[in-house]
Amino acid sequence: MKDNIFAELYNKILGFFRQTEDASKDVACNRLRVVLMQDRTNLTPQLLERMRKELVELLSKYLEMDKEALELNLDQEGEQMALMLSIPVIRAKDEEEIEKALAETSEENSEDIEENTEETSGENSENIEEESSEDIEEDTEDDTEQDAGSKKADKQSAKPVKKFPNKEICGDCRECELSDDIECEKKNGV
């Protein structure tokens, strides 16, 4: 009991001098969240970095952006997992530039992408918080997740999460402020 009292007093006095620092339990919580996300998905920091680079490559065809500041994070709220991508956009490229960038890539790819080109060029926001395309998220998981028993694997591949924490801009048409794809598709009559 005596120990307890002294320990508490000691903690109090210490606490007085380090109020500006993060509490150690918050550090622990944050570190754990990151490490558990990696454990559960088998996404190593190396793979995440690779994913980041590929996304930069893809997106820089359409937008001029701060490549170094692009942030890619996996986040979890309750049962669902979300991939968060934050890109500081410097400016949107005009049509010519986009055509040029696309011409450099192989023909197969450009066919798929051209449909989106016009829609994207109209976009002029400075800082978009957007979700990376579902395909990329799922493909990466398929590659890395051969361990079928791994926890939460089923949950996330079954339902790719769509979450837009700050600015909400529709991933499909890039004009409406929706976080729900279904409604957007209705609007566009797809």
Partner: protein, 271 residues
């Protein structure tokens, strides 16, 4: 009668699986249930020590499997509680001496005569763990509010979820230190529950009484004054289906709380 088979597991070693097994088993028996504790930690048996039964063991689980004795002969009755008995692990053999099928078979047989079969699982996620969960339909995952224990618990939960036979699992948070949580130097109960997104079955405070009770070979639930003992009793009652509130550990540390109040009074204008 068809008893419930509950495995007590954790992944990480040293978080209190065996202590939890001994105490929950004793508590369930005290409440009038017929209980068998199975120690599956072959080569590193300790459950007998915590129950103070180390001198009474004649046959072990390996003797049962290799048919040197009948199952009933290998069950050692507890000193105090005739409702409780132990099926000890062999100290001289390794994990391969018993297979998953054999353990499943033993659990099936015991189900007929007992209300609860508690399986004390070895640390790790290898064969010993797979054996221990083979016969179980429920699991208690023991963890502490430390990073390594929580991470290992998450791994274990993943493995339990992948196993069809396990219908439910719940979290037992052990060695909780309310004063450290208050000073934000330890993850709180809520933090751990949120990170693991699992249901709680109990919160056990850190208690020096655990050490002395282990020294004596007597589970701490037998000491009704002890905080950890009462917490384990509550766990047993929750297993039996009763709805019991979790203890407020801060209020429970009565002497400390009083002294603290006294100090707070003295230094009242500190904030």
């Amino acid at each position: 009668m068809s008893g419930r088979v509950i495995v007590i597991t954790s992944g990480k070693g040293g978080v209190g699986k065996t202590t939890a097994s001994a105490n929950i088993g004793t508590a369930l028996a005290k409440a009038g249930n017929k209980v068998v504790l199975i120690d599956t930690d072959l080569g590193l048996r300790n459950l007998d020590l915590l129950l103070g039964l180390e001198n009474r063991i004649v046959y072990t689980i390996v003797d049962v499997v290799e048919e040197r004795c009948k199952l009933k002969q290998a069950l050692v009755k507890d000193k105090k509680n005739p409702n409780l008995c132990l099926l000890a692990a062999a100290q001289t053999r390794d994990k391969s001496a018993v297979t998953q099928e054999q353990l499943k078979d033993i659990c099936e047989k015991l189900k007929k005569d007992y209300d609860f079969i508690l399986v004390d699982c070895p640390a790790g996620i290898e064969q010993g763990f797979q054996n221990a969960i083979a016969g179980a339909t429920e699991a208690i995952v023991v963890t502490t509010p430390e990073m390594s224990a929580v991470r290992d618990a998450d791994r274990i939960i993943g493995l339990l979820e992948a196993k069809e036979e396990i219908e439910s699992y719940r979290l037992l948070l052990n060695r909780v230190r309310p004063n450290l949580i208050k000073s934000k130097d330890m993850m709180s109960v809520e933090d751990v529950v949120e990170i693991l997104s699992a249901d709680l079955i109990g919160i056990i405070p850190e208690d020096t009484g655990i050490i002395t009770s282990t020294n004596k070979g007597e589970p701490i639930v037998n000491d009704e004054k002890s905080l950890a003992g009462r917490a384990y009793m509550n766990v047993a009652r929750r297993i039996m289906g009763e709805d019991i509130d979790f203890m407020n550990l801060e209020e429970e540390t009565s002497v400390v709380a009083k002294v603290k109040k006294f100090f707070k009074g003295l230094m009242g204008k500190e904030k």
